[in-house]
C-alpha cells in the first residue's frame, strides 16, 4: 500500500467541463428550456419576458456555449442561438450505465450477505 497526498486527489476533483454546473442556475435552465423547443433564437427574443438585461442574458449564453449545450449560429449580421443536446446525452447515458453496474454489484452483495 502506498499513500497519496490528499491535495492531489482534491485537485483531481476540480471541474473540467462542468455541464451540470452550467445548468445549475435557474436563468440558464430557463434559457435551455426556451431553446429546447427547437427554433433558433436571437438575444432579443431570449431577453424578452425575463427581468434581465441583454448583457446578462449574453453572459449566461456564453456559459452555456462554453460547455457545448448551446451553439451560436450567425445569419447575416445577427447571431442566433440554438440548443445542442449532445453533451447532456453523454452524461445521462454514462450515469445510467454506472447506475446499472451498481444494481448488479449490489445484487451480488445481497446474495453474499444473505446466504
Amino acid at each position: 500500500m502506498s499513500s497519496k497526498p490528499r491535495s492531489r486527489i482534491a485537485a483531481r476533483r476540480q471541474p473540467r467541463s462542468p455541464v451540470f454546473a452550467a445548468l445549475g442556475d435557474e436563468t440558464r435552465l430557463a434559457l435551455v428550456a426556451k431553446l429546447c423547443a427547437g427554433q433558433r433564437r436571437s438575444i432579443s427574443q431570449l431577453t424578452k419576458g425575463s427581468n434581465l438585461t441583454r448583457q446578462a442574458i449574453t453572459k449566461h449564453l456564453r456559459i452555456l456555449q462554453s460547455v457545448g449545450i448551446v451553439r451560436c449560429v450567425r445569419t447575416g449580421r445577427e447571431s442566433r442561438f440554438e440548443f445542442n443536446p449532445q453533451p447532456m446525452e453523454g452524461i445521462r447515458e454514462y450515469l445510467d450505465l454506472v447506475s446499472q453496474q451498481w444494481d448488479v454489484a449490489l445484487s451480488r452483495l445481497r446474495s453474499f450477505v444473505e446466504d
Partner: protein, 154 residues
C-alpha cells in the same frame, strides 16, 4: 439536474455482517469482483485488479475517505474514459473522480444500505463512452427533468 446515483436496499443480515462485507478487503473483493492488494485504510489509496470476467485488464484504485464502524464507508475513485482492453489508462492520476458512500442503518429485519455516488458534474462533458451508447431514450428523460425543474422553481 440530478448528477448523483442513489440506491437503497434492505438486506436480511445484521449491520455487523454487512459492514464486514463492505470493509473487509477480501470480502469486498468477493462480491465486487476485485482482487485487492491489502486492507482499506482511511486516507490511503487502495489498489488491486478487477476480476470481473472481461475486465481483468482493468486496475482498481480508490482513495479511502471514511470508515465509521457500522455506519459509513466512503471512497473516491476514478472514471477513466475507457475500460477497453487497448485504451484503458494504466495511470489514473489524471482521471476525474466521484465519491462513493455506503451508509448503514439497522432495521427491523436487517440492514438498510444506502449507496450514493456523487460528483458526476466533475466529469468532462465529452465522457461519452461511445461503446456504451445504446439508445436515444436518455434525452427524452432529460427533457422531462428540465421541465420539472423549471416548473418547480419558477
Amino acid at each position: 439536474m440530478e448528477s448523483r446515483i442513489e440506491k437503497r436496499i434492505e438486506l436480511k443480515a445484521p449491520v455487523s455482517r454487512v459492514w464486514r462485507a463492505l470493509t473487509d478487503y477480501r470480502e469486498f473483493g468477493e462480491w465486487f469482483r476485485v482482487q485487492l492488494d491489502g486492507p482499506f485504510i482511511p486516507g490511503q489509496v487502495s489498489r488491486g485488479q478487477i476480476t470481473h470476467p472481461g475486465y481483468e485488464h482493468v486496475k482498481w484504485e480508490a482513495f479511502v475517505e471514511k470508515m465509521e464502524p457500522e455506519r459509513l464507508f466512503s471512497f473516491t475513485w476514478p472514471h477513466p474514459k475507457s475500460l477497453g482492453k487497448d485504451d484503458c489508462p494504466q495511470d489514473y492520476s489524471q482521471e476525474p473522480t466521484t465519491l462513493v458512500e455506503f451508509r448503514l442503518e439497522k432495521t427491523a429485519n436487517g440492514t438498510l444500505l444506502v449507496l450514493t455516488e456523487s460528483g458526476f458534474d466533475h466529469l468532462p462533458a465529452d465522457r461519452r463512452l461511445e461503446a456504451f451508447r445504446r439508445n436515444d431514450g436518455g434525452w427524452t428523460e432529460q427533457m422531462k427533468n428540465i421541465e420539472t425543474y423549471v416548473e418547480q422553481t419558477p
